[in-house]
Amino acid sequence: MQKFTMLDGVVVPLDRANVDTDAIIPKQFLKSIKRSGFGPNAFDEWRYLDHGEPGMDNARRPLNPDFVLNLPRYQGAQILLARENFGCGSSREHAPWALGDYGFRAIIAPSFADIFFNNCFKNGLLPIRLDAEKVDALFKAVEATPGYRLKVDLEQQSITAPDGTVYRFEVEAFRKHCLLNGLDDIGLTLQHVDEIKAYEARHCAEQPWLCA
């Protein structure tokens, strides 16, 4: 997994609540059996004027000039600013894959859907919860300032705005550790093989019908 330590990136504001995983990556792209290549289809239905299908040459498709990701001032953005309940809906990891593949490394919102939130950490993407008022202030600042950037420091759990304002955020110690070091969960869990085996033996003896 890609490490996450520091990030200094352009911010793009997506001013909608309840952005669901169907919007982040429409289902026709879930037919892929690969993990990468979803970036050009992130937010496909909002981003393009035509209907997207797998295998199309996305570079030749008509862009929706009104969609925020298409505005010249937000090109190359690595930080997505969003509203509440971001990532609701399906458990598909294709959503963080698509966001990561597009180039995002961090998402700031007042709240996230649980499964999506979890999936982000498995893919080197940092979801940051900030109070709704702070997110609102950031929306105003981003919209008022072309080229607006934020500095995210995971070790310090801080976001620094161009005017020097520092926003602190919470992140679980274990997830922070994995992200800072780019650690793969499976490898970590397999350090506890003996404990898992001991548990399993006990569990299956107590409730043998579960282990048939």
């Binding site: 669901d20 879930l30 598909r92 499976i186």
Partner: protein
């Protein structure tokens, strides 16, 4: 020992170890697998040179991409076909039990698990699919996971997670005529919002819930995720045990008796504490219809499309305006004045035998309205389909002008050929009314099977409680 919630009991009995910050390693008893969220996990496993930890815990089925008509000809779309073939070959190579497309037992993963008795009380159940919450109806701790976690469970039989907070949704009283578990689910979401359950595991309890059939309980737990909760659950009682008896994967004989004795303990203790309690009076719940692009945008069928101008919260107002624009609806329109183009009866929410019986009872002896271009019934599994045909439901539907299809996810998310065209309006028994969910530009109204069938006959929404 202190009192415990059902969630506490399920959590504690699966705890392998816990880190200082509360991150826990939880053992997984049942891993359901489908074609969309598994290929990258199988590939990851292979690349790392790992093998699945316990093959017997896995049960696989293709459901999202399978056609619901002309199945004998195979899958026309080559990309869909490859995804299904990838699941077949991964399962064959590793010896994982899979119900293939031609198998009578094939169906939607959340329908077949319980139908086979592969979901049992006291289990932890996971699947790379958010509606895994469905299985919580059996007093199981069941939740959806992403593909990295699918691989993690395959490799370690465990998941890393933190304990959620516990919410109790208490529904007391008698449901009115024509009011179903689907309406309870939508009413709960209307009350707490799509993020109301975020960070919680919900237990549904109360006299109304105890009177629900297993099908109804599954419908309710299925939609827990639409309220933001990864898991929904319901305590064990005679209904649970009666449903499971004799199912192929359920224990038999002496083992059955031992299991039942254990299952009887899977309830929240009297006086157990919940972090939050939400109460609903069953008697006041009416048939529900969503009007917008999120399941929380819902009203009773005798109501009107809300007016964003009356919404105080600017974010909510903005979302409501956008939703009305997408849905092609005017504020203050009576719900019963909304005409529909298509009807979809199916999905892991409402494609079990009881759902089909309820819809057929409404459609019996009637014809779908002239303005309804397509009304389709997609059973949740091959066995549901067979049962329905034995009861003659297929003939009732056919005589009324409904199409009778083969099992799968179908127009719930339109990954196969079943979809809405842009601008088409659908009465759907599925669980998500997101933009484009049933096809780009398609407009979805979530309702119960009775309400969907009644809308097909009338050509617009009707209040089934008033028929």
């Amino acid at each position: 020992m202190s009192t415990q919630t059902l969630y506490d009991k399920l959590w504690n009995s699966h705890l392998v170890r816990q880190e200082a910050d509360g991150t826990a390693l939880i053992y997984i008893d049942r891993h359901l697998v489908h074609e969309v969220t598994s290929p990258q996990a199988f590939e990851g496993l292979r690349l790392a040179g790992r093998k699945p930890w316990r093959i017997g815990s896995m049960l696989a089925v293709a459901d999202h991409n399978v056609p619901t008509a002309g199945r004998a000809q195979g899958i026309a779309d080559p990309i869909s076909r490859l995804q299904v073939e990838t699941l077949d070959s991964n399962c064959d190579a590793l010896g994982i039990t899979e119900f293939k497309m031609s198998d009578l037992r094939q169906g939607i993963v959340h329908v077949i698990g319980p139908e086979q008795g592969a979901t049992l009380p006291g289990m932890t159940v996971v699947c790379g699919d958010s509606h895994t919450s469905t299985h919580g109806a059996f007093a199981a701790l069941a939740f959806g996971i992403g593909t990295s976690e699918v691989e993690h469970v395959m490799a370690t039989q465990c998941l890393l997670m933190k304990k959620a907070r516990a919410m109790q949704v208490l529904v007391e009283g008698t449901l009115g005529k024509g009011v179903t578990a689907k309406d309870i689910a939508l009413a709960v979401i209307g009350k707490i919002g799509t993020a109301g359950g975020t960070g919680f595991a919900i237990e549904f309890a109360g006299s109304t819930i105890r009177r629900l059939s297993m099908e109804g309980r599954m419908t309710l737990c299925n939609m827990a995720i639409e309220a933001g909760a990864r898991a929904g659950m319901i305590a064990v009682d005679d209904t649970t045990i009666g449903y499971l008896k004799g199912r192929p994967f359920a224990p038999q004989g002496e083992m059955w008796d031992k299991a039942v004795a254990h299952w009887r303990t899977l309830t929240s203790d009297a006086g157990a504490q919940f972090d939050q309690v939400v109460r609903l009076d069953a008697a006041v719940i009416k048939p529900q219809v969503t009007w917008g692009t999120s399941p929380e945008m819902v009203v009773a069928v005798d109501g009107r499309v809300p007016d964003p101008a009356n919404m105080a919260d600017p974010v909510k107002r903005h979302d409501a305006e956008r939703a009305l624009h997408y849905m092609g609806l005017q504020a203050n329109t009576l719900i019963v004045d909304i005409n529909i183009d298509k009807v979809f009866i199916g999905s892991c929410t409402n494609a079990r035998i009881e759902d089909l019986r309820a819809a057929a009872a409404v459609a019996r002896g009637k014809r779908i309205a002239a303005n309804v271009k397509l009304a389709m019934v997609v059973p949740g599994s091959g066995l549901v389909k067979q049962q329905a045909e034995q009861e003659g439901l297929d003939r009732i539907f056919a005589a009324a002008g409904f199409e009778w299809r083969d099992p799968g996810c179908s127009m719930c998310l339109a990954m196969n050929d079943d979809r809405l065209e842009a601008g088409e309006r659908c009465a759907s028994t599925s669980n998500r009314n997101f933009e484009g969910r049933q096809g780009p530009g398609g407009r979805t109204h979530l309702v119960s099977p009775e309400m969907a069938a009644a809308a097909a006959i009338a050509g617009h929404f009707v209040d089934v409680s008033a028929i």
